[in-house]
């Protein structure tokens, strides 16, 4: 306990320096902004801002990028409630009841409960990270290549199980990601794979290119297609929720926080699935489920708390194991690697100021977000009326500069544009690109660890089954696969996503 307090003191010492406070404020403001603006999500934004962080100290860069992620969870609810368009994917379910509340003239309480619920969830999740990350890292320090390989198999399989929408499409996207990850020079044999003799491809495709293309570019293109006027309900009279509102929602907030914290830790989990799961849970537990969809405040409180808790707790596997549980974490992982930090359990021991500084900054950031999102709500509402013809060219231009700066090569810009097109096709085909990014990151790592484990065991494949941690994870994989095959689970999965 004493140790925990010391760690947190160290963390706050880092997070509260003026420069880091500034980066945190910048991050959460940008996060709120892109959360509010429909069409561009946290993943695209983080990918876009990544090249900017090359010359920023590692801890400041991570504080800012993390701020964008959970900041977007706050901002996203605003748009869902006022416009009935999800500001970002994790706020989809908030539209259902949030917008109905706004139509009934109760936009203020809906916004307030979303922000307060998120704040509560954020605080709890911060404590959960501080409590659970060190023991998990302790275990992870014993990991060798065999354990990492099995862990990554588990990550990829659960990414498929927990992915949004069709299972078949998720698997296809993961496989495509694996294939894209193969591009470049193989570490073990030096063989060049899928490079077509183009020197720019010898070191593989930069994941910034893929993330920016598939997310930022593609999101802009698909949004251009969306016709119809945005009707913004700007009539926010009072922010204060009534006593009845609080009474109705506090349990939902607590449940959402618990669910989100749990689902965030799971590989493949994160904010999006947390909010869906929370909505389903609240509806199931409600005395009168028919109120849902007609302005039930629990339908806002639960998912909004859950998505923020999920967003933050998904940092746990990333920080302690170096394994991304979702696509945003994959990009965060990339940001760390760009800074020369090898993600893994040694980060906590070797760079305690970075680890605890980041965690402490989350609490600071959440506090900032409450202020940014409640008293300043008027600014965000006005932002909702910014015309896309100004917004989108700016986003694209920014992406191009970022892509070019990766290696001062126009090839990367063209490649990003190519992935943008691909992303648009995926959107048309209803294929979620997030599993692709996970496959892209995890695939080459998995191959590396597989070959390394095999080399170290001198070609004996039983090494994956004789080491207990590795075996446990492979058993979990088998269990997950069985679950997918079981028809009952499949139906349930469908239900969760089709609410």
């Amino acid at each position: 306990m004493m140790e925990l307090i010391n760690h947190l003191i160290l963390g706050f010492g880092v997070a509260l320096t003026p420069i880091n406070l500034l980066y945190c404020l910048f991050g959460v403001s940008i996060g709120t902004l892109i959360g509010v603006l429909p069409g561009i999500g946290p993943l695209a934004t983080i990918a876009m801002l990544l090249p900017l962080t090359f010359n920023v100290p590692a801890v400041s860069a991570l504080i800012m990028l993390a701020g964008i992620y959970y900041g977007a969870m706050y901002g996203g609810s605003t748009t869902s409630i006022l416009v009935n368009i999800p500001g970002e994917a994790a706020s989809v379910v908030t539209c259902l009841d949030g917008y109905q509340m706004a139509r009934q003239g109760r936009a203020g309480p809906a916004l307030a409960i979303a922000a307060l619920g998120s704040f509560f969830a954020g605080c709890v999740a911060t404590v959960i990270i501080a409590l659970f990350a060190p023991p998990l890292a302790e275990v992870a320090l014993k990991f060798g290549p065999a354990e990492y390989f099995s862990l990554m198999v588990l990550g990829l399989v659960s990414a498929a199980v927990l992915a949004h929408g069709s299972l078949l499409k998720a698997i296809a996207m993961i496989l495509l990601g694996l294939l894209l990850g193969l591009v470049g020079t193989d570490v073990n044999s030096r063989v060049r794979r899928f490079t077509f003799g183009i020197p720019d491809l010898f070191d593989g495709i930069s994941f910034v290119v893929i993330a920016m293309g598939l997310f930022a570019f593609a999101e802009v293109i698909t949004n251009l297609e969306r016709k119809g006027k945005r009707v913004v309900l700007t009539d926010v009279q009072t922010l204060l929720p009534t006593r009845a509102d609080l009474k109705a929602s506090w349990k939902a907030v607590v449940r959402g926080t618990g669910l989100g914290s749990l689902l965030g830790i799971l590989p493949g989990g994160g904010a999006i699935i947390s909010s869906f799961a929370s909505y389903t849970l609240e509806k199931r537990l409600a005395a009168d489920p028919s109120r849902f969809g007609k302005g039930a405040i629990e339908g806002v409180a639960g998912p909004e708390s859950a998505n923020n808790a999920g967003a933050q707790s998904s940092f746990i596997p990333m920080l302690t194991l170096g394994i991304p549980s979702n696509a945003v974490m994959a990009v965060m992982l990339g940001a760390m690697m760009i800074q020369g930090i090898i993600p893994g359990p040694q980060v906590m021991t070797e760079r305690p100021h970075l680890f605890w500084g980041l965690i402490a900054s989350m609490w600071v950031g959440n506090l900032m977000l409450v202020v940014i999102n409640l008293p300043l709500i008027g600014i965000w509402i006005r932002l909702l009326t910014v015309p896309y013809r100004l917004l989108y060219p700016a986003i694209l231009l920014f992406c191009c500069i970022g892509a070019y700066s990766l290696s001062n090569s126009s090839f990367e810009v063209a490649l990003t544009a190519g992935f943008g097109l691909l992303g648009y096709i995926f959107a048309k085909l209803d294929c979620e690109p997030a599993p692709l990014l996970l496959g892209f990151i995890l695939g080459p790592m998995m191959e590396e660890y597989l070959l390394r484990a095999m080399r170290l065991s001198r070609g004996d494949p039983t090494v994956f089954f004789t080491r207990p941690i590795s075996l446990a994870m492979l058993v979990a994989v088998a269990f997950l696969i069985l679950m997918i095959i079981a028809p009952a689970v499949r139906r349930k999965r469908k239900e969760v996503f089709h609410e």
């Binding site: 090359f54 570490v187 020197p199 290696s407 001198r458």
Partner: protein, 352 residues
């Protein structure tokens, strides 16, 4: 301003045209050029000195075969900053990483040889790539003129403390008594510490299993965890762990002992006579760059590398100054190319 350098500048501008293979044979042009060349030749000796005196008159571009922020880039920026301080001209760093440095090398090879294009590089681009890569888009000898080698980054042979060997000889004996049991990590096939290992293998005949990693940092994690037991790696990454007793340093791969660890023997001293692997950083210019400019640059770089503040920065990077004049560098590169070609062939590595 003196008129002479202008003639020289004109001369140097025509040089690429003269050397272009598929140049249209146009009598008029030939005549004009001939008179130009004649005039230039007459003025060459005088113009050369004057050229070197006034050089540089505009910004200098330095190609760097690595992204911003890495060791090669930092060295280029240190040199660039000192050039600017000395001559008042900007130095533009052009970072083009990737493909084992071949992208930047090709760009540098094709740039104008006027003294305003330089290429900051590390040894492998000239000495190892030719034996390792099938289609090299540049010729290490014909396309470049050496300027200076000015920094070395020593590789140190370390073992995990679980390995009983306390010296290089003991390690060789251990590896021979247990063939195929030790694991030796590298930061990837073709990089300097991998070459250290292959050279060691070829000179001592030890039999251990090579485990390649993507870069030094992940290799260090497994080395510290004892998953692999042996590695050659650079000073910066190793020193904190050697000091903490988590790794045992056996010897250094450089030809001479290093000032950072004067008690550490060289591998040659410790039982493998003739062993040396120098990871060096240096500067070349595209072939045809005026000799006077090369000499001026070379002298300046070797001066910069001795400045106290530069030495201090090199120290924090785990690097040490060394000097090679253009002539020494030329001979050294040729010798090294032959040496590594042999090692790579003996190791049975096919060019890719």
């Amino acid at each position: 301003m003196n008129r002479l350098p202008d003639v020289a500048v004109i001369f140097s501008r025509f040089k690429p045209i003269l050397s272009r293979r598929r140049c249209l044979v146009n009598m008029k042009l030939v005549l004009r050029l001939a008179s130009m060349v004649l005039a230039a030749v007459v003025l060459t000796s005088a113009a050369g000195d004057a050229l070197a005196q006034t050089y540089p008159t505009k910004y200098i571009r330095v190609f760097v075969p690595a992204p911003a922020g890495g060791g090669t880039d930092i060295l280029a920026r240190i040199i660039g900053q000192k050039f600017t301080e000395k001559w008042g001209q900007q130095v533009v760093i052009e970072n083009r990483g990737g493909a084992s440095g071949t992208i930047a090398a090709e760009m540098a090879a094709k740039s104008a040889p006027d003294g305003y294009n330089l290429f900051m590089l590390y040894s492998g681009i000239l000495t190892i790539n030719p034996s390792l890569l099938k289609k090299l888009p540049y010729d290490p000898i014909k396309d470049f003129t050496p300027v200076a080698i000015f920094v070395q980054v020593p590789n140190i042979l370390v073992v995990h403390p679980s390995v009983p060997a306390k010296s290089v000889k003991e390690l060789i004996a251990l590896a021979k008594s247990k063939p195929g049991q030790l694991n030796c990590a590298s930061s990837g096939i073709g990089v300097s510490n991998y070459m250290c290992m292959e050279l060691f293998k070829s000179m001592t005949g030890v039999d251990w299993v090579h485990i390649p990693y993507k870069g030094g940092a992940p290799a260090m994690i497994d080395l510290l965890g004892g998953q692999v037991q042996v590695m050659f790696n650079n000073l910066v990454e190793l020193v904190p762990h050697i000091k903490a007793g988590k790794l045992r340093a056996l010897a250094v791969a450089t030809p001479k002992r290093i000032s950072a660890m004067p008690d550490l023997p060289t591998i040659a001293e410790a039982g493998v006579p003739g062993y040396e692997n120098l990871l060096w950083y240096g500067m070349v210019a595209p072939a045809g760059t005026p000799k006077e400019i090369i000499n001026k640059l070379s002298a300046e770089i070797l001066k910069i590398q001795q400045m106290p503040d530069v030495k201090e920065r090199l120290n924090t990077m785990g690097a040490e100054p060394i000097d090679f004049t253009p002539e020494q560098m030329d001979a050294y590169i040729k010798a090294e190319m032959a040496k590594w070609a042999k090692v790579i062939k003996e190791a049975g590595i096919q060019p890719e």
